[in-house]
């Protein structure tokens, strides 16, 4: 396995290109799914697409990838509409509706698949690649289809950018402005279903939802701007696809789909921990810093309480009288001195005028001057 193989090995090149394009479209559209709090819709749809594949095969009897994908698209859309029907017309909640559609459609699909397998038709082998996905079966025409679909969804996204954004963040406002929210809603859902269906062959039913979610969830941590998030998610998706394919190609017995998902999960973990604004690490650091600051101020206020009883602010007091106060250590004292709030001479300290002002204003910062 050499780097140059990517440019010379036709199969590998095709697969890498395919997974990269898939990562891009999934990241792009996944951002909308995540922000619409429909993260698991992808999971439900990818399972719901299975009976469509089986029915398409039963009707046509041929294993033309495009026909099968069309079947998957139709049955995925039926799933979406039924989920919406369940949540809007009954008191069942979204999670129940998703779980229902996911398992019921998938079970029905399995019934059809096993039924097909018993048929005296030798053509059916390989339908189960849609279950777990086989990136290795990607051929140039598949990749072309992916690129076309990605292009179309990019175009639609740019065309309807304003509407999508508005619907995403303030549906009611979009309605009052006279946008046809049902249409826009349907459009987003349609493209999410399309992305899922396109990816089924590569990563399979089970892992498809992660392809949709992980890049978007990772991208969300780095930015609060929708356009940046979509772009970042697409980039994360592309990298997951390329790295995943490379890693799985470098070792025998490594299936591509799971490796791509794991790479995407690594992106998520890194983003969760290291993103400067929202990441766990920096949040923890900020927490610690704030806590220290609070301790410092507490010590200062305690000193202020002592100093207040005397006329002369800068009168030295012995450090020992602080002993019954928990919040102070040698380092807090020296930090206070560093800030020029107190001065330390030997075993005693005295408050400066700035320190006195800061302390007296500590608790009435938010109060209007009265």
């Amino acid at each position: 396995m050499e780097i140059t193989d990517y440019f010379t090995d036709y199969t590998l090149r095709t697969i890498t290109l395919g997974t990269a394009v898939l990562g891009a479209i999934c990241g792009m559209l996944g951002s909308f799914a995540v922000l619409r709090k429909q993260s698991l819709l992808g999971d439900a749809i990818s399972h719901a697409a299975l009976p469509g594949i089986a029915v398409a095969f039963l009707i046509t009897g041929a294993k033309d990838a495009n026909v099968l994908l069309l079947g998957a698209l139709v049955s995925g859309l039926i799933g979406v509409f039924w989920i919406r029907g369940i949540t809007t017309k009954t008191h069942l909640k979204t999670d129940t509706a998703l779980g229902l559609i996911l398992s019921l459609f998938f079970g029905f699909g399995m019934l059809l698949l096993t039924y097909i397998q018993k048929q005296p038709n030798a053509n059916q082998a390989g339908l189960d690649k849609y279950l777990f996905g086989q990136a290795a079966t990607l051929v140039e025409s598949d990749v072309k289809l992916m690129i076309i679909v990605t292009g179309i969804s990019l175009l639609v996204m740019l065309l309807f950018w304003k509407e999508f954004k508005l619907l995403l963040f303030d549906k009611n406002y979009a309605m009052t402005l006279g946008f046809n929210t049902k249409f826009i809603d349907g459009l987003i859902s349609f493209f999410i279903v399309l992305a899922i269906v396109i990816g089924l062959q590569t990563v399979g039913v089970v892992l498809m939802s992660a392809m949709l979610l992980a890049p978007a969830a990772a991208a969300r941590q780095w930015t609060n701007s929708l356009s940046v998030m979509v772009l970042l998610a697409a980039i994360f998706g592309i990298f997951s696809g390329v790295f995943g394919t490379a890693i799985s190609a470098s070792q025998p017995n490594l299936s591509t789909g799971p490796v791509i998902v794991l790479v995407a999960s690594v992106f998520v973990v890194i983003s969760f921990i290291f993103s400067p604004g929202r990441g766990v690490l920096f949040k923890q650091l900020r927490l610690v810093r704030n806590r220290r600051e609070l301790e410092l101020k507490k010590t200062l206020y305690f000193m202020y309480d002592i100093v207040r009883k005397h006329d002369d602010v800068s009168r030295p007091h012995s450090i020992r009288i602080l002993n019954n106060f928990q919040g102070f250590t040698k380092s807090t004292l020296s930090k206070l001195a560093e800030k020029n709030w107190i001065t330390i001479q030997g075993q005693s300290w005295s408050m400066t005028n700035t320190g006195f002002d800061v302390a007296s204003n500590l608790y009435n910062k938010n109060l209007p001057e009265s």
């Binding site: 019921l104 189960d128 969300r220």
Partner: protein
């Protein structure tokens, strides 16, 4: 016992065992946790297998249940950071764990008799072949014993903690105020769900477990709001679809788990459409009736506001309130039927009853008190036509 009977028995008991935690998962809006658990127990099973080298070892169940609980904990951990919503957390955790499982299997494909297809889809048809033999005597299939024990345990837990479970499901605040720990209930339920999932999925596969947990409970939820009835109904639905599904699979010569799910799906579809007060048809007809009721009130208020004869001509009204002809006619008919209006020479006039009603309606709209409108309907024998 014949294998046929044994398969049906296993399917029925599995369905019952899944239905009980399923009810609580649906009520607690955690239905998708079962999906997550059913996928993420895969690495637990694989690792357990590497250690024991025995697919039938009870350690496998323990490992798998443990990884199910890890899933729940991980989801909660991610959720607690506030970085993503709960559903996203679920969607991130289980594919990652499932991927690890798949890769582990693929890496050791040669020396592991473990098939992802089998794990994901299960096969009831082979369950009777794995028998429990003690000192030469045949005690029946192992799967049957495992799932029966689990059903028994969850039944006992349900009976022992019914009150606490009910309380913590419907009112977390009250239950913690009364000193029952909702956290304990939560993890208890999660453990039962995990163990049940593991035992069930051995027989019926990961996806069917989800169907068996959610579908009966959701179907029952459309029919009743009484917890006891709901549990009873979901067990009933689960068991009957299990047996129905078995016979359907025999007829079609297809996968048993697929057939059971399909029967569950058909059952749900039926109830979804025809449930007496919460079904689609009932809801739609209720909505259209409410629409007509609102139209009627609007119409009567309009009449009350306009005294001149010109304003009250039938044709004019259609233009004035901007209704379609059909809708206008149905509202007019309803009003006449209820004795609210008289129509003389195409001029509409409020009857004394209509006038009284309109005054009340106006009062209702102005004060905006919810309870009044129901009384109003009764007082005037309205909307029965």
């Amino acid at each position: 016992m014949s294998p046929m009977l044994e398969i049906q028995l296993i399917a029925a008991i599995t369905a019952a065992a899944c239905a009980i935690p399923g009810v609580f998962l649906v009520l607690r809006k955690m239905a998708l946790i079962s999906d997550a658990i059913s996928h993420s127990i895969l690495p637990g099973i694989v690792i357990g297998f590497f250690i024991t080298h025995d697919l039938a070892s009870p350690w496998l169940i323990i490992f798998a249940a443990f990884s199910g609980i890890i899933t729940v904990v991980l989801v909660e951990l991610i959720q607690k950071t506030g970085l993503v919503k709960e559903d996203t957390a679920i969607g991130l955790v289980f594919p990652a764990l499932f991927s690890i499982g798949v890769i582990l299997i693929a890496q050791h494909a040669n020396d592991v008799h473990l098939d992802i297809d089998a794990v994901l889809l299960g096969d009831l048809a082979f369950a009777p072949f794995d028998r429990w033999i003690v000192e030469g005597s045949d005690l029946g299939p192992k799967g049957l014993w495992t799932i029966s024990v689990i059903l028994l345990i969850s039944l006992m837990l349900l009976l022992a903690y019914y009150k606490e479970l009910k309380l913590s499901t419907f009112d977390i605040g009250l239950s913690s105020a009364l000193g029952f720990s909702p956290v304990l209930m939560h993890y208890g339920l999660m453990s039962v769900a995990s163990v049940t999932t593991v035992a069930a999925f051995d027989a019926v596969g990961a996806i069917l477990v989800v169907a068996l947990m959610i579908a009966p409970a959701a179907t029952a939820y459309l029919l009743t709001t009484d917890l006891k009835k709901m549990i009873f109904l979901s067990v009933l639905f689960g068991v009957s679809s299990a047996i129905g599904g078995y016979w359907m699979a025999r007829g079609l010569d297809a996968s048993i788990s697929g057939s059971i799910t399909t029967v569950l799906g058909l059952l749900f579809l039926l109830v979804y459409l025809f449930a007496p007060s919460k079904g689609l048809i009932a809801v739609l007809s209720k909505q259209s009736r409410q629409r007509i009721e609102v139209s009627l009130i609007t119409f009567l208020l309009h009449l009350n506001n306009h005294d001149s004869v010109e304003e009250r001509r039938v044709g004019h009204l259609q233009e004035h309130i901007n209704w379609q002809r059909v809708r206008a006619n149905s509202v007019l008919e309803l009003a006449v039927k209820n004795n609210m209006i008289n129509i003389k020479d195409q001029v509409v006039e409020l009857t004394p009853k209509g006038l009284a009603f309109t005054e009340r309606a106006l009062d209702y709209i102005l004060t905006n008190k919810d309870e009044k409108i129901e009384d109003m309907k009764d007082d005037f024998f309205l909307f029965r036509g």
